[in-house]
């Protein structure tokens, strides 16, 4: 029992560090990639090739003054970034990063770790995918609270818009997953990924193409990324719901947004691209395939940001409710009919 706890604590520690490293790397890579797409250079002064830029950003944010606006609701103002980061990090707990790996016998590890198989997933829940859905529903509150607590009409409007956008597209996101759950027959991430074993045409990308399209669009809207980032656009609404935040609280909100984006990319890599399964049958499955697919998704998000203009808010809501939800329901119906017919 205590050994299990120790191994889980180790997994949590490693995963948190990994997430924070990917987050800081993403802030840098996004700026550089966007710059290359826009035919300019990004940050390349701090350190070799600008690689120390995230550290410089962190130091700058750390030393800024923490301001709580007058008339703002102090406790809720402080609680909102905390809730954002809590729900963002909690949702990573069910995402698997690989299959079962065994510790090799190095001779320097404690006795119970030698040769022990470890699942690269913190919590293999029975209801894995639903848990993710529940936590993304809870993450809406952080934005609502942040927007309302700052006593500022721009942040309130930005917060309400952003949360309305998030829970509208959440519906389409969840519906796109249900077709996959029907085919795989289980809510567990591990079962869904193992269903895609074999060559790459077993991936759900090819079995559920409509669901993948819906997932891409809805996932981008969920993560508040361009072209759906009107609620936090700098040119409209004065940066939206996080206008009044400065220093570390702002850093926490940004961290929550990036971790949310990483989670959606990880879920997409697991559900549609086969997770850690290799695309060719003769190469072994390994977490490196998963990292590759995750990197592909993250690159795609940055690519979208550099390419597409923003949606207007009413276009956004129309698209979510009138196009994506019917498409997702259509996909679900066709999948259900096919599953019953093939039984």
């Amino acid at each position: 029992m205590q050994q299990e706890l120790a191994i889980t604590a180790l997994k949590v520690g490693v995963l948190l560090n990994l997430l924070l490293m990917i987050f800081s790397g993403m802030t840098f890579i996004e700026r550089r990639l966007l710059a290359f797409m826009q035919f300019r250079l990004g940050p390349n002064r701090t350190g070799p090739f600008g690689l120390l830029q995230p550290i410089a950003d962190g130091i700058k944010l750390f030393f800024k003054e923490e301001v709580v606006p007058e008339g703002a609701n102090k406790w809720i103002f402080i609680a909102a970034p905390a809730i954002a980061i809590i729900t963002a990090f909690l949702s990573v707990a069910v995402v698997p990063w690989g299959g079962t790996v065994t510790f090799p016998h190095w001779g320097i590890l404690p006795d119970f770790l030698e040769g022990r198989p470890v699942l690269l997933q913190i919590a293999d829940l029975d209801i894995g995918v639903l848990y993710l859905f529940a936590l993304s529903s809870l993450s809406v509150y952080a934005i609502v609270m942040a927007g309302w607590a700052a006593n500022n009409k721009y942040t309130l409007l930005g917060g309400l818009r952003s949360s309305a956008q998030m829970f509208s597209y959440e519906l389409a996101l969840g519906l796109s997953w249900i077709g996959i759950i029907l085919l795989a027959g289980s809510f567990r991430f591990g079962d869904i990924v193992r269903y895609q074993d074999g060559w790459f045409w077993h991936w759900f990308l090819f079995k559920q193409p409509l669901a993948f399209l819906v997932f891409l669009v809805a996932g981008t809207a969920e993560a508040n990324r361009t072209p759906f980032d009107l609620p936090e656009a700098e040119t409209e609404l004065v940066a939206g719901f996080h206008t009044e935040y400065s220093s570390m609280r702002f850093a926490l909100l940004q961290m929550a947004e990036y971790v949310h984006m990483i989670t959606i990319s990880a879920v997409g890599a697991n559900l549609f691209f086969g997770g850690w399964m290799s695309p060719v049958a003769f190469l072994p499955d390994s977490p490196l395939w998963f990292i590759l697919k995750l990197a592909g998704f993250l690159f795609f998000f940055v690519w979208l940001r550099g390419t597409l203009p923003r949606f207007r808010y009413d276009q956004l809501m129309d698209f979510g409710w009138k196009v994506l939800v019917p498409l997702a329901v259509l996909n679900l119906m066709v999948t259900a009919v096919v599953v019953v017919a093939l039984q």
Partner: protein, 165 residues
């Protein structure tokens, strides 16, 4: 003292405290946040009692959607904290609490006399068995009627909240 019992009592205490905050707090937005805490702690209790599917549904539907609706309406209507009014007296508040206490005492008496004992040993309440019962002919009519109810609520709420323009 196993972890299940500890989590149950902590969640129960949290649910009680936040329920009292819902009722006693003057600002409705704080009441709404306290209700969210209550709903999430109740979801934890459902999980401990073995109903994992219903627990996660509670978070998704209740805490994740219904309370967002409440918060939206509260923020859009700019609801102010309740003010003291003439005619308010401590006597009526005590009378209200007393009546509810009477209700609680009656239920407690029944529970103490006819309390169920024992816990079902094998209990699989994941999604598949619950869905099997939900979609069985026994609940088919209720299921379809609920779908029509949701449709009626959808159309009705849009019709009611529209501005007569």
């Amino acid at each position: 003292m196993n972890i299940d019992a500890v989590t149950f009592y902590v969640a129960a205490a949290l649910a009680l405290v936040s329920a009292i905050v819902v009722v006693a707090q003057r600002n409705p937005i704080y009441s709404a946040f306290a209700l969210i805490v209550t709903l999430c702690s109740l979801s934890a209790i459902y999980g401990i009692l073995g109903a994992s599917f219903v627990a996660i549904l509670q978070v998704v539907v209740y805490a994740g959607a219904i309370m967002v609706l409440f918060l939206f309406v509260l923020m859009l209507l700019n609801v102010r904290p309740e003010e003291r009014f003439a005619g308010e007296s401590l006597r009526f508040k005590l009378l209200g609490v007393g009546l509810a206490g009477l209700l609680a005492a009656q239920v407690a008496y029944v529970l103490w006399r006819f309390a169920p004992s024992g816990v079902a040993a094998v209990f699989d309440a994941s999604s598949r068995p619950v869905a099997r019962i939900l979609f069985s002919p026994q609940y088919l009519y209720v299921f379809e009627a609920t779908s029509i109810l949701i449709l009626a609520a959808l159309v009705g709420s849009v019709a009611l909240a529209r501005k007569d323009a």
